[in-house]
Amino acid sequence: MTPLLSVDGLTLKTGDKTLVSDLSFSLGAGERMGLIGESGSGKSLTAMAVTGLLPKSIVPAGSILLDGQQVVGTLERTLNGLRGSSVAVVFQEPLTALDPLMKIGTQVAGPLGRRLAREGKSPPRREVDREVLQFLDHVALPQPERIANSYPHEISGGQRQRVAIAMALACKPKLLIADEPTTALDVTTQAEILKLLDSLVRELGMALLFISHDLPVVATVVDRVTVLRNGRAVEEGPVKAVFDQPRHDYTKTLVEAARSFDNALEGTA
Amino acid sequence: MSAADELTPAVVTAARKPRWSPTFTIGLILVGIHVAIALLTLFWTPYDPTSTTGGRLEPPSFIHWAGTDRLGRDFFTQIMIGSRIALIVGAGAVAIGAAIGVTIGLLAAFATRFLDDALAATLDILIAFPTLLLAMLVVAASEGASLWSAILALGIAMSAIVARLTRILAKRVLQNDYITASRTSGTSWPGVVVRHVLPNIWPTLSVNFALQFGIAVIAESSLSYLGLGAPPPNASWGRLLQEAQGTVYTAPIGAIAPGIALVTLVIGINLLADGLRDIGDPTRRISR
């Protein structure tokens, strides 16, 4: 069976500068993979390349097969069909990812309506509204009606991030990409969101590409990781294997660092 | 792990040369030509600007490149002097607008909330005011209308806009942690302004000054066109255009040449401003 996503020899350049080089990995349906690496290592660019939303100044080469469809060099129209149905993204910054001038309910209804249309259904407004509330409820937002009626600035960062997740979920994509979805949040909120994400992805049987620079965070939600450094994959494998026996020096320093903070907490330093 | 290996990536990405954009180059050339001409007129012009030796409204020729005016004076000489006037007007108005505007803007940025609110509201009212109309009034009425009254009026009209911009920029700078750091390093408020605020608001301000310069040049020419600007000994382009409007059939060059001179200068300045915006801040990084 062909994997849901297979990235092969992906290279991203801007001018004569190479931002990501020769990156390959693949992800089967329902699989969960983490992309880790320090800031600027090309994680977000890779995610954008997968959705075909790279800035115009960045030129991709190589191949990205998503749900059987080539993404690199493909017409915008074809990609539009792919986005939302095969892949959906949750971005890092919850404040700016939502339209500040639109009520939450309306924003969630957007992707939801598109999915329903795709499925050939055209339910009445009331029906759509109800389903919006369901999704808000799904991401454990209290008082979904109030939230649906609010503007983004009226709810907290954690709540906004939940809304962003709800919007992505409303697409029922085969692959969910989460680009550092919790970096802007408090530890306690982060823990809640991670748990939520974990359970929802499982429940809906989606594949997950989880991006973060925070090893422990990645470890809590994925099965496999790819470690990026300066746009190159330096190591790849199951979470446990990579974190227990890192082979690459870079991975080693990352793991050591993470463990040292863990140890400090445990008092085993 | 030593600190040294941390140096590699960042330093490589950072060594970004200011981009010398074509816009900037074109702007620089246009403005440079005008500045050069203006400086030249201080020492030499093709003809004495007051000499009436030519014929009446001669067409352009090798002797008189842009022909002559009604009194037989060389028109090209007048246009050249126009460059000087325009540059003086622009620079003078910006200098006045900047001096008043930056001071008030900084005061507002540092003031207590109440005073700041009051100043901000006043500035808003002033900006809502048809300030240029008032400038017109002042010029129209000032005893012995002179170039300087036009410059002063334009400068004052400009200062409210500069003040508002300065206030916003300074407030933004003041939010940065380096200001707090500077305070905790024992630097006084005036020290903070000189060390941190001014250098950091300068790039944006200077772009704005360039734009205001262009606006002032246009405004002065409009005032002159309405007969409210620089009086006769000063060959302001606006006045040349106004005078030439009556002879547009017999000597069309008069209604065109000063206009082109004006437009090239203003475009040059605007392009320069755009270019400054692009390259002005060498510290700007591609992404953060």
Binding site: R83 | P130, V263, I267
Partner: protein, 320 residues
């Protein structure tokens, strides 16, 4: 929202009062005597004194101001020193020229600037996007009156399709003629205004294009156009609306010049003439009315922004 409107109106009235005070003082500071205008070579000094008395321009300043504000409160702008006609009547008559001129030009400018501004931002990497942007640079650098002169030369003198100036004596009772008379002035003003407006639209569009919410919408399957329409218009409108307010004010300023170029009997020519003649009631009246209009436009722009942007609404609510 309601309390905001009330507060805003209070500020408006206050601004207007301050504005008229400034106007009043500024006008009296000007040298020159309105009585002079009524004289001609040959008049003798006693006549001049008589004229001053008749105008009330010999009263103490304070008294003049009290009179002025007092009559303002009863919507009376006084009578012209020179023509003796009620200022308000003349302003109303002249508004029938200036308002259509400004509003038509403004509308035309928006009609030009918005689509072209959006195209030049969305297609910034295509030649025509760059071309639009460059042409708008040119538009910003050209003084209004020169555009007027060039248009007259091209369309009125060379190919005589439009009148070079003036307004039909029957005004809007001859609508076709009146519109024809306004065509070139409106074009002149619109060309210059649309250039600067276009740049603001372009910037606002670029901001929207770089926004995360647009990226999010696209990442969740909306097409580029759909996302731009759904999210871009309102978000782009917020900064553009406040600029529109300022632009409308500058349109009025441009109208003064344009009315001069095309000899239109509008507020601008009334103002210029009033300044020349030191006809204080006229000048005061025009400036007062134009300040009122500008403030009202600003007020409307603020309200419109608040209606669109809930964040502004809440800020106001929290502060009050």
């Amino acid at each position: 929202m309601f309390s905001y409107v009330v507060r805003r109106l209070a500020i408006l009235v206050l601004s207007l009062f301050i504005a008229s005070l400034v106007l009043f003082v500024l006008l009296r500071l000007l040298p020159g005597d309105p009585a002079n205008t009524l004289l001609s070579v040959g008049a003798d000094p006693q006549q001049i004194e008589a004229a001053r008395e008749q105008l009330g321009s010999n009263l103490p300043l304070g008294e003049q101001f009290v009179r002025f504000v007092g009559s303002l409160a009863s919507f009376d702008l006084g009578n012209s020193f020179i023509s003796r006609a009620p200022v308000a009547d003349e302003i109303v008559a002249r508004l029938t020229v200036t308002l259509p001129l400004t509003l038509l030009a403004f509308t035309l400018a928006i009609v030009i600037a918005v689509p072209f501004g959006i195209v030049s931002a969305v297609k910034a990497d295509r030649w025509y996007g760059a071309a639009i942007s460059t042409v708008s640079q040119l538009g910003i650098a050209i003084p209004v009156f020169w555009v007027g002169i060039l248009l007259v030369t091209a369309f009125a003198v060379n190919i005589r399709v439009f009148p070079s100036g003036g307004f039909p004596s029957r005004g809007w009772h001859a609508p076709a003629e009146a519109l024809r008379a306004l065509t070139l002035p409106v074009l002149t003003l619109a060309i210059v205004m649309s250039a600067s407006l276009l740049r603001y639209v372009r910037t606002a569009t670029l901001d929207v294009l770089g926004s995360d919410y647009l990226r999010t919408a696209r990442a969740l399957g909306s097409t580029f156009t759909e996302a731009l329409v759904r999210h871009g218009i309102r978000n782009g409108a917020v900064p553009v609306i406040s600029i529109l307010g300022i632009e409308l004010a500058s349109a009025f300023l441009g109208a003064v010049v344009v009315e001069r170029v095309f000899t239109l009997p509008g507020l601008g020519s009334m103002l210029l003439l009033g300044i020349q003649q030191r006809d204080y009631p006229n000048v005061q009246g025009v400036l007062f009315v134009s300040t009122l209009l500008v403030l009202l436009v600003g007020f409307t722009a603020d309200l419109a922004q608040r209606l669109i942007d809930p964040r502004l609404r809440d800020k106001a609510g929290a502060a009050s």
